[in-house]
Symmetry: C2
Subunit: 199 residues, 2 copies
């Protein structure tokens, strides 16, 4: 009657909501169970331990980002302006709306926790490599192949995500877009002039 996978997804969603609201230290079994409308024992039936629950949530986070990037790749057409494509793909990693703001907040808590948690650290490293990979690929399409440029772009994205998550009042989505646009148009080798930064 009940799809176990769906249950697991529901519980993981509850983890995300709890973390977004109160930080990862609030993601206790009791809080998550309450958020999911279940008993602690029920949650533990699907996740053997607290650690396993958090790691499943971390993996789901990676999966969702991958899915969004893949969807973006489907959507674009050969004739599209590479600058616009880059801007849109990069935007998938940034808190430009409420939903992504929540996801970014969860991301920040997880990667910060990953520093002192080897198991989470592995997943966080995956995320980081993926971001640098996407950055490198987009830059390649723009005629830039410098690996330092990829690190540079990745750093801007991380920094914007961090700043916007911690101080949303001082780093609005418009400002984020402006910085991203500035970074892309400032690239060497890209000798074109695109239109407005805003979509």
């Amino acid at each position: 009657m009940v799809d176990p996978e769906q249950r697991r997804r529901d519980v993981v969603d509850a983890v995300f909501r709890v973390v977004a609201r109160g930080g990862i230290q609030q993601a206790t079994l009791r809080n998550v169970a309450a958020e999911a409308g279940l008993a602690v024992g029920s949650v533990r039936h699907y996740f053997a331990s607290h650690r396993e629950l958090l790691m499943a949530a971390a993996r789901e986070m990676v999966r969702r980002v991958d899915l969004r990037v893949a969807a973006q790749r489907e959507r674009r057409h050969p004739g599209d302006d590479p600058h616009l494509v880059a801007q849109e793909v990069m935007g998938q990693f940034l808190p430009l709306d409420a939903a992504r703001a929540d996801e970014t907040a969860v991301w920040l808590d997880f990667v910060a926790a990953a520093r002192t948690d080897p198991a989470l650290g592995e997943i966080a490293a995956e995320l980081h490599d993926g971001l640098r990979d996407v950055a490198g690929r987009l830059l390649h399409r723009l005629g830039v192949d410098d690996p330092v440029a990829a690190e540079h772009l990745a750093a801007v994205l991380d920094g914007l995500a961090l700043g916007a998550t911690l101080h949303p009042d001082r780093l609005s989505p418009d400002t984020i877009r402006a910085v991203l646009h500035r970074h892309l148009t400032q690239l060497p080798g890209a000798a074109d002039e695109s239109e407005h930064p805003d979509e």
Copy 2:
């Protein structure tokens, strides 16, 4: 016989060591007291509560960054190349050696915690504004006055600090310096360009 201020500093140092080693969630009164070689009651004699201890540590963190920036300001001479000055000042915020790597790790844990802790959030906002301020001032000396440029530079610094703290094996000090150098040399010259959609 014992300087109370020195004791407070010692305890705060112990907080830093504990956080650097095991994350902010490990900064319990018991752990900090053990690290400082004191009893819990003794620590509580100088800090009325756990919260107060963490906030004192956060403020000390801000103070140290300020001190280092001020020291850098003293050291520079009128004839210095503004680019080199900028590179050195910005380097004060980055984990280029072991000591700063520890400080950056502590910084990351604190600002992440600040997202869901209003009291810490105020201090974190101070830090963020300070960084953007220094960035803006340095850019001004380089002939760049665009506020977006200041946000851009601040984002790069935050992103580099984040990346190097979480993945020191993939983001070496040399790479950090390369990215920073790239960012600074890539700045548009003294010619301030306003919005020129058409050209």
